[in-house]
């Protein structure tokens, strides 16, 4: 299974009596989201073969993090999947906590669940919105930007930034929730988000143009999806109910009641339906998490991992020294290696970290959910029309930041 196009070997069995045509799509193309590139071998309009190229956003995340302390890596994780950065923060913090043997507080776990599900919703909104823009339906995109701005306001209250959050810390969170934040979350989750989901649902789900553009486009069988390493909504659309929130529950996901939607054919329409339903399930989780949100501290009570309170730093020499060492040397993580996986919006987000003691990581490998999905695009579009490449590409939701790192 080579992924390089070989023209000579494939120029037989063509419909048209012409040479196959090799066209280049990207890297600066509206539908490739500016950083992906395809070389498509076409017979008429049918894709015979496809070669993908990426790396146009390779920023050296792993090299940078090897030169940073454990806490300094958190801002870099924001920029992996910049559509749902809070989930990356959570995934990374959990990996380091696994290595340190920290048990985070219950309140921290609940807050992490709430922010993860909020990010999942806005991630799916961007995915569906941009996918529909590529198919020519601009309205859905505007509809979905309205709740996104509301969620950004909530996130901005939480950590001071709309997009690059850096909200988690090893052993807890940057800060506790602001006053009244949960009420505002509930207002958004009961108001504008379900309204906009219903609007888009009404516009698309039974829309004939939408159905003809997506149904049967880019299908994948469950067996192939597993072999290619698909995870997340794209795998569930193919009918495999793998969801780490259910299968290997982390944080406090085992306490909530929610369903895992699955599709049948794994085509673009199924992927859309799975994402729409997942947004509704995420709303359910947020409702339950806020209803049972416990009190107490958000950070672990351990001076090795938690910064001393600011008042003490100004008054007390021990706290000042502790703060200084914490910032300059970083938290001390025991030597060892750990792999921690979370269910991010696109699938399994894994962090494999190696520590040799000391304040900084020796090696961090991210297992980005997009990587195998992008690899599978060739499988999805072979034999389809070239216009369907755009529909498929949008529906698997490639985020270049985590694809290239």
């Amino acid at each position: 299974m080579t992924d390089r196009i070989e023209i000579e070997a494939r120029s037989t069995h063509l419909d048209m009596q012409a040479e196959p045509m090799l066209i280049n799509i990207g890297p600066s193309h509206p539908a490739t989201h500016a950083t992906l590139r395809f070389k498509a071998l076409l017979d008429g309009e049918t894709i015979i073969d496809l070669e993908s190229e990426f790396g146009y956003l390779h920023r050296g995340f792993e090299k940078e993090s090897e030169a940073a302390t454990w806490t300094q890596v958190i801002p870099y994780t924001d920029r992996l999947n910049y559509v749902s950065p809070l989930m990356n923060n959570v995934g990374y913090a959990m990996a380091v906590e696994k290595l340190c043997g920290i048990k985070t507080t219950e309140r921290c776990d609940y807050i992490r669940v709430i922010i993860s599900e909020l990010s999942r919703i806005i991630d799916h909104m961007v995915c569906i919105g941009t996918n529909m823009v590529d198919l020519g339906a601009l309205t859905n995109f505007w509809y979905f930007w309205k709740p996104r701005e509301e969620v950004y306001k909530l996130i901005e209250e939480l950590c001071g930034q709309r997009l690059t959050t850096a909200y988690t810390r090893i052993g807890g969170l940057m800060a506790d929730l602001p006053d009244g934040w949960t009420d505002r979350v509930l207002a958004v989750c009961r108001g504008v988000i379900p309204e906009c989901i219903a609007d888009v649902n009404a516009l698309l789900t039974k829309n004939r143009i939408f159905i003809e553009r997506t149904m049967g486009v880019g299908p994948i069988a469950a067996k192939d999806a597993v072999a290619l390493g698909f995870t997340g909504p794209c795998l569930r659309a193919a009918g495999v109910p793998l969801d780490l929130r259910k299968d290997q529950p982390y944080l406090v996901y085992d306490r909530f009641d929610f369903d895992v939607p699955i599709g049948e054919k794994g085509d673009t329409c199924d992927r859309y339906m799975v994402r729409m339903e997942e947004m509704r399930q995420s709303l359910r989780i947020i409702e339950q998490a806020i209803a049972h949100l416990p009190g107490g501290p958000v950070n672990v009570d351990d001076p090795r991992f938690t910064l001393p309170p600011k008042e003490l730093v100004y008054e007390n020499i021990e706290a000042l020294m502790n703060h200084f060492k914490f910032i300059m040397e970083g938290i001390q993580v025991p030597a060892g290696e750990a792999y921690s996986a979370t269910e991010a919006a696109n699938g399994e987000l894994g962090f494999y970290i190696v520590s040799r003691g000391g304040g900084g990581p020796y090696k961090i490998k991210v297992r980005p959910p997009c990587f195998p999905l992008f690899q599978g695009i060739r499988h999805l579009v072979k034999g389809q029309m070239v216009a369907d490449l755009i529909a498929v590409l949008g529906s698997v939701n490639i985020i270049a930041g985590e694809l290239d790192r």
């Binding site: 992924d3 390089r4 390493g229 792999y339 990587f371 195998p372």
Partner: protein, 152 residues
């Protein structure tokens, strides 16, 4: 379980931090991976991740790390292989899981580990013409190379 079947090929096993890990020799790696995938008690049908690690100063220097997951059994395992610096070659696992293809290309790109039998072992994240392998510990972090493009 693995050491009972493959005896001398399994160097050591441990499960630190709850992750089951086996360090194996490279000679029969494809056989071991196929066994892990097909054995009815294991059924590791997902190759979740593959990466290289550079332990500069140790011998053997490189390590290839596989992370596997089983859909049905819901368990994970980590398989590690050590490779020497002067001969960083290992058999490709693409026949076992086609999805591991690009991970191997990435490990080649970043560490220079050669996967024997890989269908298209080319650079993946960096451009053709990049000299060296940037994630090796002896590659300076800020060492820049001239851009190769239509203008220059």
């Amino acid at each position: 379980m693995l050491s009972a079947k493959f005896g001398s090929d399994v160097v050591s096993t441990h499960s630190d931090f709850g992750d089951d890990t086996a360090l194996v020799r490279r000679e029969r790696i494809v056989e071991i991976l196929s066994y892990l995938r097909d054995d009815p008690a294991l059924l590791f049908d997902f190759a979740m991740d593959l990466t290289g690690v550079d332990y500069l100063g140790e011998e053997p220097r490189f390590e290839v790390v596989y992370h596997l997951y089983s859909l049905e059994k819901r368990h994970r395992v980590r398989i590690k292989v050590r490779l020497h610096e002067d001969d960083p070659v290992i058999d490709s696992a693409v026949p076992v899981w086609p999805g591991i293809n690009w991970y191997e290309r990435e490990a080649y790109d970043m560490y220079g580990i050669v996967f024997r039998g890989h269908p298209n072992l080319a650079r993946i994240l960096l451009y053709e013409g990049f000299q060296g392998h940037p994630l090796r510990k002896d590659y300076p972090k800020a060492k820049r190379q001239p851009t190769i493009g239509p203008e220059e």
